[in-house]
């Protein structure tokens, strides 16, 4: 423990506790994980930023169809490189204590591939494609699906906006269970 503790000052830990949904123990575990991820490039510190390849070695991300989006969205400078603090942000949002609204915000941006702040047909097609993997739906099935998705969600036309998306997710009870990592 002592060894790990020395990585943070008391103030830093307190800060992180205040600013994320993680407990002290989880922050230390996260630090351990982070060191495992980027340790190959020398002793890590908290603000240097590492390329997404390193971060995506995290088992949870490794097999996630949206990993590139996750690293991009959580990267504080939007360049897909992540620092330890960004990593903490990621874990905080993914913790089971984070509220639905926060999770929904990030989920929205993860799904928003073309980054136009609206989930439109294009985005949804990519999402469906990535979700089903190699099993690939037939194009007409995919179209039908996306059409059905947009049909009712998108009340005012032009795609699903963030607010609409958040509203939508309150009706998707599985989301809050599935959109998380356990530390």
């Amino acid at each position: 423990m002592g060894n790990k503790n020395s990585a943070f000052t008391e103030e830093e830990l307190e800060d992180y506790e205040d600013l994320t949904y993680l407990t002290r123990r989880e922050i230390l575990i996260a630090w351990g994980k982070w060191r495992g991820l980027v340790g190959g490039r020398g002793e890590p510190d908290k603000i240097s930023r590492y390329p997404e390849k390193d971060v995506q070695k995290l088992p949870e991300l490794q097999h996630n169809p949206f990993r590139d989006r996750i690293t991009r969205v959580f990267s504080s400078l939007k360049d897909s490189r992540m620092s330890f603090e960004d990593f903490l942000d990621l874990l905080s949002v993914m913790s089971s204590k984070a509220p639905l609204q926060l999770k929904a915000h990030y989920a929205f941006h993860i799904f928003d591939y073309n980054e136009d702040q609206i989930l439109d047909t294009e985005d949804l097609e990519v999402v469906v494609e990535r979700l089903t993997g190699d099993h690939g739906l037939l194009p007409e099935e995919k179209n039908k699906l996306v059409e059905r998705l947009l049909e009712d969600t998108d009340l005012d036309g032009g795609g699903i906006s963030e607010e609409e998306f958040k509203h939508l997710l309150t009706k998707c009870p599985d989301f809050i269970h599935s959109f998380r990592f356990s530390v």
């Binding site: 800060d15 205040d18 600013l19 994320t20 949904y21 407990t23 002290r24 123990r25 088992p59 949870e60 490794q62 097999h63 996630n64 169809p65 949206f66 504080s76 603090e85 960004d86 942000d89 949002v93 509220p99 609204q101 926060l102 915000h105 990030y106 799904f111 136009d116 702040q117 609206i118 999402v127 979700l131 089903t132 993997g133 190699d134 099993h135 739906l137 099935e141 039908k144 699906l145 059905r148 998705l149 009712d152 969600t153 009340l155 036309g157 032009g158 906006s161 963030e162 607010e163 309150t170 009706k171 998707c172 009870p173 599985d174 989301f175 269970h177 599935s178 959109f179 990592f181 356990s182």
Partner: protein, 854 residues
């Protein structure tokens, strides 16, 4: 900077709206051929009042909306036509769309609900600053980013600062910025709270801190944390829900055990009772000095007799291992004379040695604790079920939400294994296909001809008849076997025991349980085969099989109890003074029932063990190691971890526990041990034996499903237990209620002894004078909630319609706006058009207004 950008949206939104009106008029002038002009004017103002409603006057907006609904619908078609003119589909369109307040990248509207709630609480608390707070609140509604910054003009008290500090983590900005916010908050001058408020604040701080510390501690010692995490990483959250369900049940049973231990076992160890013998002279003595004996003389002697018979056990020397095992699984021998079963509990009033006047009525405690545990279990279950129901209701709102749920909530982000992720993808794919299939099925259903429909209904009717026949046959089998086993057991016990007889006894002892278990294994396969003939949707197939299997399992238990019950009243109870030994009644039927359920519990565990280690494990080994790659190997080795089946196993075990709890108070403890073992058995089954089920089990749905099955079986359980408490005469020879007419009369006796007013109240509760108004009240309350729910549903659909209309409005206005911009741009020529498009790109805040002015 935050101040500026945050304040703008509402003001600007309203500004651009009011800006639009003259614009529309202008347009009218421009284009005389436009149809439905007047309507558009009307609708615009309606739209405005609607969007103005966001700030706080929602009610007014809605009313206006309703009043105009009739008009809108007529106009709707035209707007629809106009709303999406392809000609104006130009570059401006998307840009302006992104500028709309609702579409803006609105980072900081998080945690709004809580902030607003708190604010309203505060405004109630401080009536003097109501107006200020109101302004505050309405601003909050539009954008909370501002709220994080302390409003320096107003005095901010400590509590508010603290609340905001707690809210920081809900903001979707990188840590760096959150840190800045925190510093800003901390450095801002705050008013110190004093007095009661300060106390309250410190208490709140303390509470939240302890809560988080406690949570951390609990998470450290959490049971099976790593196993659950493993399951989660490799099989997804659906399976985790199953294992957490086992955990939940374990806690429930532990809780029951603790209650039983504290109120029934511990008093027996620490308290004494005066005397316990059958000798008449001691009896008369004890009656005079202390009424510690509750039973009559003859009953007491019967007890003695019972005990003697029971102590007729083989000596310790010739107590073989085989005998030990036999007794262990049958609940006979020394176990029968332990606290495990009802029969061993004495009918005593216990006293503390140092303070003899303090009495502890053990039979009453026995009754009360069991009733209370049952009620508590019910309450806990109903709570969990209500939560599950709410979730599943929300998702069952329509086919469409199921798609959303699948697409947006389908992926388990905790999956960390390649195989699991490909299986998950396959599962999602299957589920999607399933949904599409259902849709196709529905279409097909509508196109079915009359003849086809008739045929299908006939098939269904036939299948249902077969199912009922199957169930009936199995019930008869259980009934016959129980009676048969009982008779033969009696014969075998009467004749002096030989080695061969012992085996026979074991066989007969296990005959009813064996029949039940065998039926429970075979019949579900038949049911699954039959349901395929009925052509239902995949979802209904799942539910239907589940319902049938559950009813088989529950009903088989009930039948078992009924057949045991048949053996009880065959004894003439006209001669209470004679200790019954000539009638066929078991010495202590309560213990007998307890033993049956104990045996079922043990057998259930054994079967689970066997199927996992001796059936599934070899299957997996042979299929995947020896015959790797071949199709037969795959057919043998691929075992699905079908959650419904496993849930049924667990629920069945719990039902046994509830049924037997009264006759065997230690059964919850046995069930606890069993559940721990079951956890590991199932864990092994899913980790080693099974490939993950290719069906997608959604966490929310399965949670609701588990609990509702549990609830149903609980209710079915309660009926026989309640009947036996209220109606059946307890055995004379054993148990804490010997000599009473019914078990419940113990309770009545206590009520009779209680003070008059309490007696009156309690007796009144049992009369029709109380029951009829109570029932009427409950019905009325139920109806009221039903009406409210119906009204809300109606309201939701109305609002949804309104929202759609607003959406059309917006589209319409946007396209008009684009058109205008384009026209003016054309007029001004190329240079100016370049100039006017730039601000749209650069500034996000004022661009709307500026373009309009341009």
């Amino acid at each position: 900077m935050c101040e500026a950008t945050a304040l703008v949206p509402t003001a600007e939104g309203m500004g651009s709206m009011s800006e639009l009106r003259p614009l529309l008029r202008e347009m009218k002038a421009h284009r005389e051929d436009m149809s439905g002009d007047r309507n558009s004017g009307c609708r615009t103002s309606a739209a405005m009042s609607g969007s103005g409603g966001r700030g706080g006057s929602g009610g007014r907006g809605q009313k206006a909306g309703f009043a105009r609904r009739g008009g809108w619908e007529d106009a709707g078609v035209e707007f629809y036509r106009e709303a999406y003119p392809t000609s104006v589909d130009n570059i401006y369109d998307t840009r302006i769309t992104t500028l709309l307040p609702s579409k803006r990248h609105n980072v900081n509207s998080l945690g709004r609900g809580t902030v607003r709630r708190r604010a309203s609480q505060r405004s109630r608390r401080q009536p003097s600053t109501t107006t200020a707070t109101l302004v505050h609140t309405s601003r909050r509604g539009s954008d909370t980013y501002l709220e994080v910054l302390p409003d320096l003009t107003q005095g901010v008290d400590e509590e508010e600062t603290w609340e905001k500090l707690q809210q920081i983590r809900a903001h979707a900005v990188p840590i760096e910025e959150k840190r800045k916010l925190k510093q800003q908050l901390q450095s801002a001058p705050t008013l110190r709270t004093r007095g009661l408020a300060a106390f309250k604040l410190s208490r709140r701080k303390f509470l939240s801190q302890t809560k988080s510390r406690l949570r951390e501690m609990i998470s450290k010692i959490e049971l099976w944390h790593w196993s659950l995490r493993y399951v989660e990483g490799n099989f997804g959250t659906g399976l985790v829900a199953f294992f957490t369900f086992i955990k939940w049940l374990l806690y429930l049973n532990l809780f029951t055990c603790v209650l039983l231990g504290v109120f029934i076992l511990v008093p027996q160890i620490f308290l004494v009772h005066s005397k316990d013998s059958c000798i008449v002279d001691t009896w008369s003595n004890s009656i005079s000095d202390n009424e510690t004996f509750l039973y009559e003389n003859d009953t007491n002697c019967c007890t003695k007799y019972y005990d003697e018979i029971k102590s007729n056990l083989p000596e310790r020397d010739n107590y073989y291992l085989i005998q030990l095992v036999q007794d262990g699984v049958q609940g006979t021998g020394p176990l029968e004379l332990s606290y495990l079963f009802y029969g061993y509990y004495p009918r005593h009033i216990l006293v503390l040695e140092v303070a003899p006047e303090w009495k502890y009525n053990l039979p009453l405690a026995y009754l009360l604790v069991l009733v209370v545990t049952l009620i508590l279990s019910l309450v806990l279950m109903v709570r969990a079920a209500a939560r599950g129901l709410r979730e599943s209701l929300r998702s069952s709102e329509g086919q469409f939400y199921q798609y959303c749920n699948l697409i947006f909530g389908g992926w388990d982000y905790c999956i960390e294994n390649n195989k699991a992720s490909s299986i998950k993808k396959k599962a999602i794919y299957n589920e999607l296909c399933n949904h599409l299939e259902t849709e196709r099925y529905n279409e097909e259903k509508e196109q079915r001809t009359k003849k086809e429909r008739c045929r299908l209904y006939m098939v269904r009717l036939l299948v249902n008849l077969v199912v009922i026949a199957l169930l009936f046959v199995s019930f008869v089998a259980i009934y016959k076997s129980t009676i048969f086993a009982f008779d033969h057991l009696k014969d075998a016990k009467d004749s002096k025991e030989s080695e061969q007889d012992k085996l026979m006894i074991l066989l007969f002892e296990y005959l009813p349980s064996g029949v039940i278990v065998t039926l429970n294994i075979i019949i579900p396969y038949l049911l699954r085969a039959l349901v395929k003939l009925e052509h239902y949707t995949p979802n209904s197939i799942l539910v239907l099989t589940l319902v049938r299997t559950v009813s088989l399992r529950l009903a088989s238990l009930v039948v078992l109890l009924i057949s045991i019950y048949q053996t009880i009243p065959s004894c003439p109870d006209s001669k209470p003074s004679v200790c019954i030994d000539e009638c066929s009644q078991p010495w202590c039927w309560e213990t007998y029932v307890g033993q049956q359920l104990y045996k079922l519990t043990i057998l259930d565990l054994i079967i689970m063990f066997l199927t996992t280690f001796l059936v599934n494990f070899p299957r997996k080994c042979i299929g995947h190691k020896l015959m790797r790659g071949s199709q037969i190997g795959a057919a043998i080795g691929d075992i699905e971890f079908a959650i419904p089946k496993h849930v049924l196993d667990i629920v069945y075990g719990q039902t046994l526990c509830w049924l037997g709890m009264f006759y065997s108070p230690m059964l919850p403890a046995v069930t606890c041990i069993k559940l721990v073992l079951v956890f590991y058995i199932k864990y092994f089954d899913c980790k080693v034996n099974s490939s993950q089920s290719s069906q997608l089990y959604r966490t929310s749905r399965s949670n609701a499903l588990f609990i509702s099955i549990l609830l149903v079986s609980f209710i079915v359980t309660i009926i026989p237990v309640g009947y036996s408490i209220a109606e059946i005469k307890p055995s004379l020879a054993c148990g804490p209620f010997r000599g009473l007419d019914t078990i419940w009369s113990e309770m009545l006796a206590v009520i009779q002894e209680s003070p008059d007013w309490l007696k009156a109240v309690l007796l009144f509760l049992g009369t029709a004078g109380f029951a009829v108004p109570a029932i009427i009240f409950l019905i009325l309350a139920g109806y009221y909630y039903y009406a409210v729910a119906a009204a809300n549903k109606h309201m939701v659909s109305l609002l949804k319609n309104q929202l759609v209309l607003e959406g059309h409005d917006k589209q319409f206005l946007l396209s008009r706006l684009n058109h205008m911009i384009k026209m003016s741009a054309e007029e001004e020529g190329e240079n100016t058009s370049a100039r006017s498009s730039r601000p749209v790109e650069d500034e996000t805040g004022h661009s709307n207004d500026q373009t309009l002015e341009a």
